[in-house]
C-alpha cells in the first residue's frame, strides 16, 4: 500500500497553483474516510473493561471487537 501511494505521488503531479481537480484529489490522493478505526478502538476498550467488570461486558466487547475487525476488512475503499 505504501508503494502504491508512493507511485501515486510521483505520477499524479498537480498544477503548481490552485487546488487539484476534485476527481484527482478525491480518488487518487486522499485515503477514504472510515469509522471502523474508531469503532474498533471503542470495542477494544469495552473488551478490556470486561476483564475488570465481568463476563457479560467481556462477551459484548469480544463480539463488538470481532464485528469491527470483520467490517473493517470488508469495507469497500
Amino acid at each position: 500500500m505504501a508503494e502504491e501511494q508512493n507511485q501515486n505521488q510521483k505520477s499524479q503531479q498537480l498544477p503548481d497553483k490552485g487546488p487539484p481537480s476534485k476527481g484527482v484529489q478525491g480518488q487518487a490522493l486522499q485515503p477514504s474516510t472510515s469509522y471502523w478505526p474508531f469503532a474498533l478502538a471503542v470495542a477494544l476498550s469495552i473488551l478490556l473493561l470486561g476483564v475488570i467488570t465481568g463476563p457479560v461486558v467481556l462477551a459484548i466487547g469480544a463480539v463488538l471487537t470481532a464485528a469491527a475487525v470483520i467490517a473493517w476488512g470488508l469495507e469497500r475503499r
Binding site: M1, A2, Q5, Q9, Q30, P31, S32, Y35, A41, V51
Partner: protein, 561 residues
C-alpha cells in the same frame, strides 16, 4: 449513517452523510494532519489532568504533617500523575507532532496506513479515558508509575509483611497499558513504513530532516520495547486472575522479574520521550541561527547509537536490589557510555548557534531552555550511574529531580518549542510573542524552583512517594519552595492556553513561511491543503526549501549534501 442536517442542492434534497458533518469529519478522518492535531489536543487535555494531580501532590507536601489528601488518595494521585504525563501527555503529543509534520517534511501526501493511523489515535484516547475512569470506581492505580510486583498482586501474592493490591486499581493500570501499547505499535509501524518508503524523490536518508530521523529511531525503539511492557502486564494479569505466580516469591516466582522486564521497556522509554524532542531542537536551532545544522551526520547517527545503547542500561534502575558486582559494573559502564552520543548532540547544537544570527523568538527560547535544563538532567543521570552514589540517593527526591529535569526540562520544553514553531503551519496564525515570552520565563524559573532544590532534599534523605513528613528534618522550607515553583508552572501552562485561544481568535496571520525556514513543510500553505503539496517536491539537499528560495546559493551548488 443517519444525520440531522439537510443540504439544499438545486433540484435535489439529500441528507448529509456522516463524514460531511463537522463531528463526523473528525470521527472518520484518515488525514494525518487532523489525526496529528487530535493527538496533540488529547495530549494537552491530559497535561491539564496530570498537572492538577501534580499541584495536589505539591499542596499535600507544602508543609509538614499535611492532610490535604488522604494517604490512599495520595497514592492514587502520584501514580496517575506519572502515568498520565508519560503515557497520555508526552507520548501522544510527540506522536501528534510526528503525524502532522513528518509526511510534510518528507514530501508525502499522507502516512502509509491512514486507517491504522486513525485507529492508533482512537486507542490512545479511549485508553486514557479507560485509565482515568478508574477514579469513578474509586480505584485508580496506586502502585507508582512503574507498578512494581508484588505490590501489583492480589491477596494471593501477599502476606508475611508483603503488601499487595486486591482491588481493581492495578487491573486498570495493566489493561490501560495494553491498550496504549497497541496504539504505540500501530503508530510505530506507520512511521517506519512512511519514512522508509514514502519520501519525496531525491530525499535520501542522508538528506532527511533530523526530526524525521529521530522519529524513525523512536519508532524502532517502540517496536522493540513495547513487547516487553506488554509481556510484563500480561504476566501480572495472569497472576491476578488465573492463579499463576510469576511474581510471587513464596510460590517460586520472582518479583524482580517484573523489574527486569519493566525497565527493559522503561529505559528505552526515556529515549522514546526525548529523541523526537532532540529532532525538534535540531530543526529549530538552525532556523533561528540562520545556519545549517552543524554535524548533521553526527546528530543523526548519535540518535541511532542512543537507540541501541538504550536497551543495554535498564538495570541501572535496580542497583539497590543487590545485583552481582559484574552486573553493576556492566550497567554503570553502559549508562556512562550513553552519555557520549548525547553529548555529541549537545556540542553540535552549541556549534550550530555559535556565530549564528540568533533570533530569540519564543521557539528559540524554549529550544535554548531545553539545552540547559536537559543538560542538568543528563548530568544527574551520570551521577546516578555511579553505583555507590546511587545507593545513597536511590528512591529519594534526588531521583525525582533527575527525571523531572529530563522529562519536564527536556521533553516539555522541547514540546513547547515545537508548538510555537509549528503552530503557524497548523493554524495559519502566529502565537502571541509576548504571552509566549511570559510563559517561557515563568516555566524556566518555575522548573528550577521546583526541581533544583529536590537535589538537596534527596541528599538530605527525603524519600520519594511519602505521604507526609514530620517538621524539623530540614525539609520544610525546601518543600514550600517547591510548591511555590509548581504553582508557577501551573500559571505558565494557563498562560499558554490563554495564548492559544487569543491567537486562534485574533492572532496575526502567519503566512506560509513565517520563520524563513529550510524544510519542506513550509513549502505549502498554512494550514496545508488535504493533499499537502500540489506537486510532489524534488529534493537535492538537506535544506530543500532554502534551495528553492535561494537558487543562486542553493546548498546543492555550494556544499556536499
Amino acid at each position: 449513517m443517519a444525520t440531522r442536517t439537510i443540504v439544499e442542492v438545486p433540484g435535489v434534497a439529500r441528507r448529509k452523510r456522516l463524514e460531511e458533518t463537522y463531528i463526523g469529519d473528525w470521527l472518520m478522518t484518515t488525514d494525518h494532519k487532523k489525526i496529528g492535531i487530535m493527538y496533540m489536543i488529547t495530549g494537552f487535555f491530559f497535561l491539564m489532568s496530570g498537572g492538577v494531580e501534580a499541584l495536589l501532590i505539591r499542596t499535600q507536601l507544602a508543609v509538614p504533617n499535611g492532610h490535604v489528601l488522604t494517604p490512599e488518595i495520595y497514592n492514587q494521585i502520584f501514580t496517575m500523575h506519572g502515568v498520565t504525563m508519560i503515557f497520555l501527555f508526552v507520548m501522544p503529543t510527540l506522536t501528534g507532532f510526528g503525524n502532522y509534520v513528518v509526511p510534510l517534511m518528507i514530501g508525502a501526501r499522507d502516512m502509509a496506513f491512514p486507517r491504522l493511523n486513525a485507529f492508533g489515535y482512537w486507542v490512545v484516547l479511549f485508553g486514557g479515558l479507560f485509565l482515568n475512569s478508574s477514579f469513578l470506581f474509586g480505584a485508580a492505580p496506586n502502585g507508582g508509575w512503574f507498578n512494581y510486583a508484588p505490590l501489583n498482586e492480589t491477596a494471593a501474592g501477599c502476606g508475611n509483611g508483603i503488601m499487595c493490591t486486591p482491588g481493581m486499581n492495578e487491573d486498570f493500570w495493566l489493561l490501560a497499558i495494553l491498550l496504549l501499547g497497541i496504539s504505540s505499535i500501530s503508530a510505530s509501524v506507520n512511521f517506519v513504513v512512511t519514512i522508509l518508503k514514502m519520501r519525496a524523490p531525491g530525499m535520501t536518508l542522508n538528506r532527511m530532516p533530523l526530526f524525521t530521523w529521530m522519529t524513525l529511531v523512536t519508532a524502532f525503539l517502540l517496536l522493540f520495547a513495547i513487547p516487553s511492557l506488554t509481556a510484563v502486564s500480561v504476566l501480572a494479569l495472569l497472576d491476578r486472575h488465573l492463579g499463576t505466580h510469576f511474581y510471587q516469591a513464596a510460590s517460586g516466582g520472582d518479583p524482580l522479574l517484573w523489574q527486569h522486564l519493566f525497565w527493559s521497556f522503561g529505559h528505552p522509554e526515556v529515549y522514546i520521550l526525548i529523541l523526537p524532542v532532540f529532532g525538534m531542537i535540531s530543526e529549530i536551532l538552525p532556523v533561528f541561527s540562520r545556519k545549517p545544522i552543524f554535524g548533521y551526520t553526527f546528530i543523526a547517527w548519535s540518535g541511532v547509537a542512543i537507540g541501541f545503547l538504550s536497551f543495554t542500561v535498564w538495570a541501572h534502575h535496580m542497583f539497590a536490589v543487590g545485583l552481582p558486582a559484574v552486573a553493576q559494573a556492566f550497567f554503570a559502564t553502559s549508562t556512562t557510555l550513553i552519555a557520549i552520543p548525547t553529548a555529541v548532540k549537545i556540542f553540535n547544537w552549541l556549534a550550530t548557534i555559535t556565530f549564528g544570527k540568533i533570533s530569540l523568538k519564543v521557539p528559540m527560547l524554549f529550544a535554548l531552555g531545553f539545552i540547559g535544563m536537559f543538560l542538568i538532567g543528563g548530568l544527574d543521570g551520570l551521577a546516578l550511574a555511579v553505583v555507590p552514589f546511587d545507593y545513597q540517593v536511590t528512591d529519594t527526591y534526588f531521583v525525582v529531580s533527575h527525571l523531572h529535569y529530563v522529562l519536564f526540562g527536556g521533553s516539555v520544553f522541547g514540546i513547547f518549542a515545537g508548538v510555537y514553531y509549528w503552530f503557524p503551519k497548523m493554524s495559519g496564525k502566529l502565537l502571541d510573542e509576548r504571552l509566549g515570552q511570559i510563559q517561557f520565563w515563568l516555566m524556566l524559573i518555575g522548573v528550577n524552583l521546583t526541581f533544583f532544590s529536590m537535589h538537596i532534599l534527596g541528599l538530605l534523605g527525603m524519600p520519594r512517594r511519602i505521604y507526609t513528613y514530620p517538621a524539623n528534618f530540614g525539609w520544610d522550607e525546601i518543600n514550600l519552595l517547591q510548591t511555590i515553583g509548581a504553582y508557577m508552572l501551573g500559571i505558565a501552562i494557563m498562560v499558554f492556553f490563554v495564548n492559544l485561544i487569543v491567537s486562534l481568535r485574533n492572532g496575526k496571520e502567519a503566512g506560509d513561511d513565517p520563520w524563513d525556514a529550510f524544510t519542506l513543510e513550509w513549502d505549502t500553505t498554512s494550514p496545508p491543503p488535504h493533499y499537502n503539496f500540489p506537486v510532489v517536491p524534488t529534493v537535492r539537499s538537506r535544506r530543500p526549501f532554502y534551495d528553492k528560495k535561494n537558487p543562486d546559493i542553493a546548498d546543492w551548488k555550494t556544499a556536499t549534501h
